[in-house]
Symmetry: C2
Subunit: 525 residues, 2 copies
Amino acid sequence: MNLTGKSLIGSNSAASSSQTFQAFDPSKGVNIEPDFHFASVDDVNRTASLAAEAFPTFRDLSSSAKSSFLNTIAEEIEKLGDALTQRAMAETGLPEARIKGETARTTGQLRLFAKLVEEGSWVQARIDEADADRQPLPKPDVRSMLRPLGPVAVFGASNFPLAFSVAGGDTASAFAAGCPVIVKAHGSHPGTAELVGRAVQAAVRKCGLPEGVFSMIFGSGREVGTALVEHPEIKAVGFTGSRGGGTALMKLAAEREVPIPVYAEMSSINPMLILPSALASGEGLAAGLAGSITLGVGQFCTNPGLILLQDSPEADQFVKSLAEQLKNAASGVMLNPSIAEAYQSGVERLEKHSEVEVLTAQSRVEGSICSAWASLFEVKAETFVNDQSVAEEVFGPESTIVRYRNEEELLQVIDKLEGQLTGCVHGSTEEFGRLKKAIDALENKVGRLIYNGFPTGVEVCHSIIHGGPYPSTSDGRSTSVGTHAIERFCRLVCYQAAPEEMLPDELKNENPLNILRLINGEWER
Amino acid sequence: MNLTGKSLIGSNSAASSSQTFQAFDPSKGVNIEPDFHFASVDDVNRTASLAAEAFPTFRDLSSSAKSSFLNTIAEEIEKLGDALTQRAMAETGLPEARIKGETARTTGQLRLFAKLVEEGSWVQARIDEADADRQPLPKPDVRSMLRPLGPVAVFGASNFPLAFSVAGGDTASAFAAGCPVIVKAHGSHPGTAELVGRAVQAAVRKCGLPEGVFSMIFGSGREVGTALVEHPEIKAVGFTGSRGGGTALMKLAAEREVPIPVYAEMSSINPMLILPSALASGEGLAAGLAGSITLGVGQFCTNPGLILLQDSPEADQFVKSLAEQLKNAASGVMLNPSIAEAYQSGVERLEKHSEVEVLTAQSRVEGSICSAWASLFEVKAETFVNDQSVAEEVFGPESTIVRYRNEEELLQVIDKLEGQLTGCVHGSTEEFGRLKKAIDALENKVGRLIYNGFPTGVEVCHSIIHGGPYPSTSDGRSTSVGTHAIERFCRLVCYQAAPEEMLPDELKNENPLNILRLINGEWER
């Protein structure tokens, strides 16, 4: 498939603006053809109008038709085959295995939502039957279920060109809910975005859905991103990116005449508490941690950026070993020059900090604009407690060790932590019990608490929560990964005394979809 | 029980400020003893610190202990007996039957949450079991459930001195979730607030809970309300009141260093679409509607304020009959002078509007500062479409008829509606089918769609949704009434590879609480 460099406006495409950009190959340090055209604000308005027109039909689509749409998207993405892999590799510098794995995760995610929708119980159907004889007042028939919010704006992430991009988790869960989607493609992988966008467009056509169910636009966040979030027809926003970007969207959304929810995944340093008994495993733990820090050149929201260690000779040995592992780790190619630049300046900021000990911070790789080495720093708990800027996220293969002397200092450190996507604890069950207060305090700051494991690698399943207290996400009540994500794009709607004919199938007396429902307070199928 | 006029700070009370106020009897037009003291910002800070201290214990309270706490509050409120009824009647002008009914609703609500918590399945427990042999990567053990957010600030409403006040729906659902509560009492019924607040305080003591689980403060929204919402330990806000008050809280919460969710129920005109066949019932429907408009002197968030009627001789007759009923309805005493004043100026605004036809708008009741008559206005659809200010909420026994000529005009009217708590449709099933497009459009604007019924009277049950798109509430994804309300004060937390000993009971292998759980994608108990 030849790339056109055009935005997808429903079933059409547009190259409205003369302003263009190209993708960049971070491994080779060169631009890649073709030119991609910025969308105009008029284009944005057209996508929003089309989405609003499509909503009533898409909202009322049967479960099986919606499920089939999601499966068709997965098939269309698979059909892209090696063309997608090659283009994504060129645009991101990520290796083949990662791109293939991420493609499988993306299609797997679409199919998981297809299955969820087909099964149907996700709508949380509830029925309380009427009782005309109740005293002092008759009881009405009341029923409720989740219904889609309306058109959703999705901002693709730079670091997951597939799984958190055009047909990633936000898009899949919004579609599954019954919401049309308009994607603002990330400028770092526009070719990948166009390929996947055309696959979604093909699925819309094949399934005979209204064209406005999906659009995808290129352009600057400041112009088309703002126009999209401010558009009255947009009812929710999904975003994965920087804290600056996420909070800017939150502000725009809160200042609208009708404010809308923003689900922004922003930044997280993913603290890891390593207790004494875990240090006994020595090299093993250090190797595992070094692997987690350098995985994907550290470009994960779940990268372990803060390691809490109690002072001891064993801890000294562990730190030495971890620093050694990171020094010996190969350099990697980061996603694009601005990410590499930001990593470099983050590392330099810590190198210059008088209270920060540098354990390893090799300089930039000669001759490669995007390559980076891992780095490791250390601070005293006291330093962290007084100045958490020493632990501000440095996006990339970086981690900072915080050394505490006793449980009191540990509790102070945890108390100062911002909200996080994840927290890890390594140790024995006996130690966990003894330090329950600290672990409870850590749980209160995170979305996912991991025992004796690493934060990188997010299992896509029913139980997973990839979300956490602010500022790790804008709204720590929900998740961007796993089936709970569908709830983000819904609201509860209630029907009172509705004639059977006017009820959605999910709430009809006969339970034609055979879903689990709460009837008069009892769960039944 | 003698009233002290003091704020309740955990297990203590405080009268820090020399600034005082008294309750006002709107029926008699006189102040009522004693003096109530404003809380200071220091008092607010103490309540927040106490709540934060109480949180770890309260969060981990067993289901049965939490359930017993909720039941104990209900018992303590019932013990107040006639003293509560008399004081609430004096402070609100509401009749005895209403106060007794509302007290029963309040204790019933507490007991419903007690039952919900005792049963336990509300936490949405999910387990995905590990699979060490999965290819290409082993599958970790992942579990998740709802956990409480932390201390919640609740702003009592003026119009429900019990059910949406100190121990009302927000407080009951936050307690049920495991969140300590700080109530900012409404200045319109401070004695009622103190009585109920002391009942909650007694329940905290009897159940041996940390004192910070509950506090209640008097004072101005501007000072203590702001201090409360801005306090870093507060994690969510519940509010029922005006749009001005609600949007001010939303702004404060969004501008915090760590933004928090605000659940504000604000304003709603509750459109009612009356189709031709319903007019055949003539007097019956008009009488029912007049009753709904004047119920509680129109002081309900669900008061029917907008009636959509197609032009016809039968419609003329219906309007005449409705106007007649409202003219003949008795005047009623409103909650306080400022509400009565606002009602009067709302009515005058419509009377003066050149495009508004006045059907009945009797003037103020002589010699009674708080009494009010019902009023009814009419506008053409065209007028409403061009200027929705003709249908801005007039809190009180007022309704405006919008006359449309055809379905196209009806759709235009619905399109211009703001978000609403409820929408009603009256007609035959055949008519509903024929006007499905209009009814779907109406559904998209409301939280509860009622067929052939009236919006006043909100059934407290599992299925009910009392919430709707902005601006009827700040967050149309949730409800302030019914068991779904517990979810407002929770977030999803995930545990990966946790030792059995570290898991909450809800997620332990043996399912010791015997709750419904989603295990590997299948619902099991």
